[in-house]
Amino acid sequence: MRRSRGLVRPRSGARRALAVLLPLLVAAPLLVAAPAAAADVRTEDARIPAGSGADAVELDTTLFLPADGEPPAPAVVLAHGFGGSKDSVADEARALAGRGYVVLTFSARGFGRSTGSIGLDDPRYEVADLSALIDVLAERDDVVQDGDGDPRVGVAGASYGGALALLGAAYDQRIDAIAPQITWNSLTSALFPSQVGETPGATPADTAQAAGAGVYKRLWSGLFFGLGAAPSGDLLDLLGGAAGRDDRPAPADVDVEDVTSALTCGRFSAEVCAAYEAAASGAELTPEIAAVLDRASPAGVLDRITAPTLLIQGTQDSLFGLGQADANARGIAANGTDVAVVWYAGGHDAPASDQDTAALRNRVGDWFDAHLRGRDGATSSFEFPAPTGLGTAGTVGRVQGGTRTVTAERYPGLDGADPVRRTGIELSGTVQPVVNPAGGTPAALTTVPGLGALTAALGGSTLEIPGQSASFESAPLQDAVEVVGAATVELAVSSAGGSATLFAKLYDVGPDGTATLPAGLVAPLALTGLSADPAAPTRVGVTLPAIVHRFEAGHTMRLVVSTTDQGFALPVEPAVHSIALADPTTVLDVPQVEGRTEAAGGATRWWLLLAGLVALALLGWGAALLIGRRRDRQLSAVQPDGEDVPLRFEGVTKAYKDGFVAVRDLSFEVRRGQVLGLLGPNGAGKTTSLRMLMGLIRPTEGRISVFGHAARPGAPVLSRLGSFVEGTGLLPHLSGRENLRLYWAATGRPAEDAHMEEAIEVAGLGAALDRPVRRYSQGMRQRVAIAQAMLGLPDLLVLDEPTNGLDPPQIHAMREVLRSYAATGRTVIVSSHLLSEIEQTCSHVVVMAKGQKIAQGTVEEIVGAGGAVLLGVAEADTDRAIAVLEGLPGVTAGRTDDGLVAELEGVPRAEALRALVDAGIAVDQFTPRRRLEDAFLALVGES
């Protein structure tokens, strides 16, 4: 079972989920915060004396006080269930104290660390103890007082504690409101039920009870008694009465009767113990037993209750069924006292779900808020779990999720409310003999106390013994029937012996024959004075167990009357009874309650959700529109010379988060029609610079302008840019042609702007263009990628290492393509670490190393800066050539390892060559000596 954390943290339903939607992400801190708020609740432990004389006891109590500084608050006394102690209600107490109540919990006499023996909610003992506790509350300043010695106080409790609340309200008029849960109206009818008699009543779960006789609820009673009879602690302590180990009584001193009593009766008072023993051995309701049980029953004193009462009862309860609460509700409402009834999926057989527990706790809190503080919020509405076709709540057939609750205006049939609507379902079946086996075994198995309906454990089938039962069926139902309460039926029974113990139950039978016993509940019938003549049987009115169950359309209702049930004491004499419907057209009177399901607001909330989403979408759309407009205005800012300077870097720096500076204070310009080479060794910052201009990386400082517009991510001006940077980026699963086509489609620009044929020509792949890219060689991919960059003939073409992986003819062709491209007035930027590449392709060059610009200028400027010339002349002519050259002003010449080298020092190369030719020297070779490579190495080496 999933336990709740014991705080007022409602988890029922999505309406609340909605409320905590926004702080969803901070849910974890909230969960911590909630108990912190409860920590404000202070507790005070005290032992309070109650009773007098031989019955004087000390009650172990804890007082839960709301946070300091609160004004006086109403008080609530919480009583625990049978076998529990004040600790079993600590969670509830904390929750109520958190709502601002002074909450008193106590262990009843005979339980926990309280002294005394169990008197079974006896008005002389337990009820008097409750009054003593209220006396204590009357003394407190922090409790609201209605008068002298009369505190404002409510009482709540479950089962044993619930009955105490009812009896307390009857005997002590100072109690202002009560909320008893899963408790009894009459212990006699609960432990000796016989659901025989005049029916039906106006309330849904009105259950008949035969006077003076009943079938002993053996298993439950044993369990009930066993809880109190188990001697607690050390048996010797119990006998000696003293706490210390040293003064144990000598064996001779021990009274045999005391030992017997301690072992058999435990903490029960002698009177209760005797009654139990009589019942358990005789299995009959004797007047003595009845006296004890009646004294502990609110049934006789309901007319004294004036405190508004919230009755909570469970649908999974074979001990105190819905009929018990129904009887309480009728009895209390008869005085004109305010009564509300709530049924929930749970009870003594099955624990309530977390969700239900929280909801019930809330409901109790609301009830006290309304009747102890005069606040709004509590209603007298009748709530019950939405009927389902499942045998038991929550456990079978559900993967997950909670149950829904149906809410009706009032509990039907109460104090002016309309009586419950009943529908007749026709049953049919012939007279059937049933046998009661000798000794009562074998017996049918329906419910094991506290373990829930056995149907769940056995996969939906209870155990019926053949020959022991008569069954009567309805026709398959046209429409689903939701039974909310106790159905009634009239039977005709005869028995040779004149008496019979029978068990009536209503099965839900599916089209495939599987039978489900709703909640595992049976109605025991103790029949006496029956006709012995099968021809003239006795008519018997029977109330079936009160259930909340949906019989689906197509299912049939099957009334089964059997002779045995393992939960009850059975007659040991063998007998045969004959059972029939009272009339051939007997109908099953089925109570039905209409209400609004919790989810009735369901359809609305789905619409609300949809509306909310639409509203959010509209809002987002509007916001995007506004932001877009603002950005457009920003982007329209343009440098006046933009068209002439396609690219301008101004003091651009890129430092990565790890501190690495890829580009430092880079500034340069590219003018229209130039082919600019970005030259530098690996890691010089070339690619980073290109990425920044493409808007992929944001510069840390500085500004990059493309055609005068700032180049930020997604800037529209980038549409004038074609790029190929580091890797082809082609989709491997598509062909080259499809890649180009899809790339262009992704730009959203008109197809005729693409100049697809020209690009395909550049790629020069021929038929290979239609093969998937993943089969391409590196060079083929490269060419497709360059073609892709040239789609739409961009005004600025950026190529990073474009000739990598190309073979020499392709490299040559690529140079031609780039040169002619620039000749159309467009601009090309090429980066490379290959010097010859730049020298042969570019008109201008920017040399970079370690993120900085080292040099900038035309290739000529950079290449020709030195003015040395390498000469190739015949060996014989060398000396003459040196002489001729040195005859020119300022020129020096000499032999080197490479050959003859002349430093022209400002003399034009053409002039030097003419001088040599004029001197009749044959010149093989005449090339500038300082090529870019040297310049580059020189520049890079300097930095």
């Binding site: 076709g389 299912h555 992929l696 620009r749």
Partner: protein, 287 residues
């Protein structure tokens, strides 16, 4: 120059026309991955039918727990429910994670992301289109699975009414309506894992890391859900309510958990998506 717009863009370029959904879907549809998933979606129901037919001869009454497996062969629609039930926990999670987690990361891996961004497709638009394309593919896969299940299931087990595990019968029309509701719920609930993968996809260049990370996260939560001690904390897990669609089998429909599930899923999805957009807007694309 007259071929340039005032904002600097070349004539014919409009940000709102870049990377249209049809284009993105064409890019994705040609991928083997997409084909593979669709093929799996078709094959899985057939495989299950074969398994159920094969196992039918043996004693199937062993399992007393009522669940959708027991009624899987009652009709084609029942079989469809069973398929959904069987695939919710793992298969569909992976499919959603794959389609969403693969979007951005795989482009980065191919190196295509930088060209798309330099087109330029505005970053937010790129993400939006990718997100929508992933949604279309994921929902498409879900619908394919369902359609094949209904068709093949009906051929194998007859086109009968839905029989729920508790013995309630839903006629075909009603059944289809409920089925539509279930698909709607699943489509929304699986967005949680999808958007988580999407977020991961924007912060890594490895598609496998994004897909695997999201699936792994979901499994961790699924395992944590088994820990009873966590109590109602588990209701806030991203995996919470993954089977809430089975509530649609009840009559009347209990929509409390469904509603909560939808809201919670939408919030998770919104948060993860927002994180994805935030991560991508600030990111330096270095792949």
């Amino acid at each position: 120059m007259n071929h340039v717009q005032v904002n600097g863009a070349v004539a014919g370029y409009r940000p709102s026309r870049t990377l249209r959904l049809t284009v993105e879907l064409r890019r994705q549809f040609a991928r083997r991955r997409t084909f593979g998933v669709v093929a799996l979606m078709v094959a899985l129901p057939l495989l299950l039918i074969a398994a159920l037919k094969l196992g039918a001869s043996e004693d199937a009454g062993e399992n007393n727990r009522i669940n959708l497996v027991d009624v899987a062969t009652a009709s084609g629609l029942n079989f469809t429910l069973f398929v959904l039930f069987a695939t919710t926990g793992f298969f569909l999670v992976v499919v959603y994670a794959l389609f969403f987690g693969d979007t951005v990361a795989s482009e980065a891996q191919w190196g295509a992301l930088r060209y798309t961004l330099a087109t330029p497709v505005p970053r937010m638009r790129l993400l939006r289109q990718k997100w929508l394309a992933a949604l279309v593919l994921s929902v498409g896969a879900l619908l394919t699975l369902t359609a094949v299940s209904v068709l093949a299931g009906s051929v194998a087990f007859g086109f009968g009414a839905i029989e729920t595990p508790v013995g309630v019968t839903l006629a075909q029309g009603e059944g289809f309506l409920r089925l539509a509701g279930m698909l709607g719920y699943l489509a929304v609930h699986l967005l949680v894992v999808g958007t988580l993968a999407f977020w991961f996809s924007t912060i890594t260049d490895a598609p496998l890391a994004a897909v695997g990370g999201a699936v792994f996260t979901m499994f961790v939560f699924a395992i944590l859900e088994q820990v009873e001690q966590l109590g109602s904390l588990r209701d806030w897990f991203p995996t919470a309510g993954e089977f809430a669609w089975t509530d649609l089998l009840q009559t009347p429909v209990a929509d409390g958990d469904l509603f909560r599930g939808v809201i919670q899923s939408l919030v998770y999805a919104a948060v993860f998506t927002a994180l994805g957009f935030r991560a991508f807007a600030r990111r330096d694309v270095t792949s």
